[in-house]
């Protein structure tokens, strides 16, 4: 990652913990997506994770899966998502794009990475695209070419030999799920997680982001002992669905 990459500058700033807030492009609508991002930033988000909706999101629980389906039903396209990305980038925080392999593959992997770079993103997270697949390799190559970090997603239970393999190509930060499973469900943040987090930090030698099941200030406080970046997603999607104040919720979590 280049030194003037917005994400790199933020990670080097020493502010800890950083807060990465997740949202879905096109949810609750294309028009309102920018407002959601603005509320998250106003509420204290340091990084925005912008999910480009996919019909069958394997790593997501019912909250994000149903919201993705709603966004697609309302007609959200990849082109819309890229427009939203530009606007979110305009809010001044680093943006990590998240999606699944198939939409990226169909768009063309190199073309997709170039498009998000042009729109101002600094990283991409594709949880079902292992680095050692043909597409994973293409993603890494395009990332290097465009100064976009390809963020590895790891979980407690992934053995050290595998982490070491992934670490060779990692940049930016490491996304660590708080447990094995999918997004949204309540997490206990076990001792296993703390042990795994320290192993992952040692092997990757990068800031560690932890997500999955972050719902309250108490969760954030408990994770801040082991994580450099704390990620929350489903909690915001649920708040949007219920018509609650997203900015206030973000502030409650980050303050």
């Amino acid at each position: 990652m280049s030194e003037n990459n917005a994400l790199e500058i933020l990670l080097k700033s020493g502010k800890r913990p950083l807060f990465m807030a997740h949202m879905i492009a096109g949810y609750p609508s294309t028009a309102e997506s920018e407002k959601v991002a603005a509320a998250l930033v106003q509420g204290g988000a340091d990084i925005i994770e912008l999910q480009i909706p996919f019909s069958d999101p394997m790593a997501d629980g019912p909250t994000i899966a149903v919201a993705s389906e709603d966004a697609l039903k309302a007609g959200a396209t990849v082109a819309d998502s890229l427009e939203i990305l530009k606007k979110v980038v305009g809010l001044g925080k680093p943006v990590a794009v998240m999606s699944y392999t198939n939409p990226v593959f169909r768009f063309g992997i190199a073309k997709f990475v170039e498009a998000i770079k042009a729109a101002g993103a600094t990283a991409i997270i594709v949880p079902d695209c292992p680095f050692d697949t043909e597409e994973g390799k293409a993603l890494l190559a395009a990332g290097k070419e465009n100064d976009i970090c390809i963020i590895p997603v790891v979980s407690p239970g992934v053995p050290e030999e595998r982490l070491q393999e992934l670490a060779k190509d990692a940049c930016g930060f490491v996304y660590c799920t708080s447990r094995q499973g999918i997004t949204g469900a309540t997490s206990k943040f076990s001792n296993d997680l703390a042990d795994f987090a320290s192993t992952a930090k040692r092997i990757f030698n990068l800031p560690l982001a932890v997500g999955f099941g972050v719902k309250s200030k108490a969760d954030v406080q408990s994770l801040s002992k082991i994580a450099d970046i704390i990620i929350a997603g489903s909690v915001f999607v649920n708040a949007i669905k219920r018509g609650e104040n997203v900015e206030q919720l973000a502030r409650d979590l980050t303050s």
Binding site: M58, D128, P130, T133, E134, G157, V158, Q180, G181
Partner: protein, 401 residues
């Protein structure tokens, strides 16, 4: 078979170790005489193999062309070929120390087979099934529950097979230590496509041996219906090297060629990456998975096994399709001519037999695999044939105290 273009393991890293362990268990089991002995014993003395190869004499005479044989996988204990890969995977799950089998199901055949094997091997069982499929295949839900399985309805997406796979994958990721995901077709992340083909390849070996004994030669063509492709790969595998044998997969032509009206990758499949594997999928230009339709829940799925996709693209396997109406007609034709009531899935292969056989010589042989028997489709057949007395029976049954 070396598979390079399609396949792979496109899954979150948390599955890496589990898939690695499963691959190792599968590789060691292949060369373990104790495993082979137990597997073969279960196939023979539990499921009832070899299944019969029925000479469809009256259908052959009526259609006036090739000699027609039906490989009767419906004779298996659980009513379909699915039990074969379930027995194989169930034994592997026990070797891996798992306590539970989980499965997705469309028509319910793979769910019933998994529940059957779980009961036999003393494992817990959870089956995920879309609510649309539960509506179409309610009798199999009843059977799974009688076999001790828990059936979990899946109420999002298209509420069919693909959504059941999604939900099973998600449950699995949360229960990796105790659960083995018994994937029901030749698809999903590696090693599943190869592993299920390996177990199912007994179908083709039996066809070859039975035909050799009865006719002393190879068939001109082997046909099977294709949803994901498990009975097709099982039927074809042994014949891939026999260039004189045409291998024909019959997909669900549904009610039309527009998006959402069929489940045929021949009509509209393009390369994609979904549910852990790379293959041909029905999808939009932006890579969103497309809705599908088939009268048969077991074929109502957007993807095709990666090895089968590769064999199709290389020209070794031909794909064609039969419509909903053709499948129902074909099931009726073979019921009346041969006393064989086929599952609606398998009836797609029978529909192609009716089209092909008359154009072939009388010295030629065509074998169609009947992947399952049609008991489960009682309600669907009754509706398709507008059977008023059956409707009255249901009404009476409902009102009966």
């Amino acid at each position: 078979m070396k598979n390079s273009k399609y396949g792979g393991a496109y899954v979150p890293e948390m599955l890496w170790e589990t898939l690695k362990e499963l691959t190792a268990a599968f590789e060691s089991a292949k060369n373990d005489p104790a495993f082979q002995k137990e597997f073969q014993d279960l196939l023979k003395n539990y499921s009832g193999r070899p299944t019969t190869l029925i000479f469809a004499e009256r259908a052959t005479a009526d259609l006036g062309g090739a000699k027609i044989y039906l490989k009767n996988e419906g004779a298996n204990l659980s009513g379909a070929h699915k039990i074969t890969h379930c027995l194989g995977q169930g034994l592997l799950a026990k070797r891996l120390g798992k306590k539970m089998l989980i499965a997705e199901t469309g028509a319910g055949q793979h769910g019933v087979a998994t529940a059957t094997v779980a009961a036999r091997l003393g494992l817990e069982c959870i089956v995920f099934m879309g609510t649309e499929d539960i509506r179409r295949q309610r009798p199999n839900v009843f059977l799974m529950e009688r076999l001790g399985a828990k059936v979990v309805p899946v109420e999002y997406g298209s509420k069919t097979l693909k959504d059941a796979v999604n939900e099973a994958l998600k449950f699995w990721m949360e229960h990796l230590a105790e659960a083995h995901y018994c994937i029901g077709s030749v698809l999903g992340p590696s090693p599943y496509p190869e592993m299920n083909r390996y177990f199912q390849s007994v179908i083709g070996r039996e066809i070859r041996a039975q035909l050799q004994e009865r006719e002393g030669k190879l068939p001109s063509a082997v046909l099977a219906c294709v949803g994901g492709g498990s009975n097709a790969m099982g039927s074809f595998d042994d014949f891939i090297g026999e260039k004189s044998v045409r291998l024909i997969g019959v997909e669900a032509g549904g009610i039309g060629k527009n998006v959402g009206e069929h489940a045929s990758r021949k009509i509209a499949g393009v390369p994609g990456i979904f549910q852990g594997y790379k293959s041909l999928f029905l999808q939009t230009d932006e890579g969103q998975i497309a809705p599908t339709h088939s009268i048969s829940a077991g074929l109502d799925y957007p993807g095709i096994g990666p090895e089968l996709a590769e064999l199709y693209e290389s020209g070794r396997v031909e794909l064609t399709y039969a419509t909903d109406a053709e499948a129902v007609d074909a099931a009726d034709f073979f019921a009346k001519h041969e006393g064989v009531i086929s599952a609606l899935e398998s009836a797609h292969a029978l529909a192609e037999v009716r089209k092909m056989a008359p154009k072939m010589g009388r010295d030629e042989i065509i074998v169609a695999t009947l992947s399952g028997r049609g008991d489960k489709d009682l309600f669907n057949f009754a509706r398709a044939f507008k059977d008023e007395s059956f409707k009255q029976f249901l009404k009476d049954e409902y009102e009966r105290k």
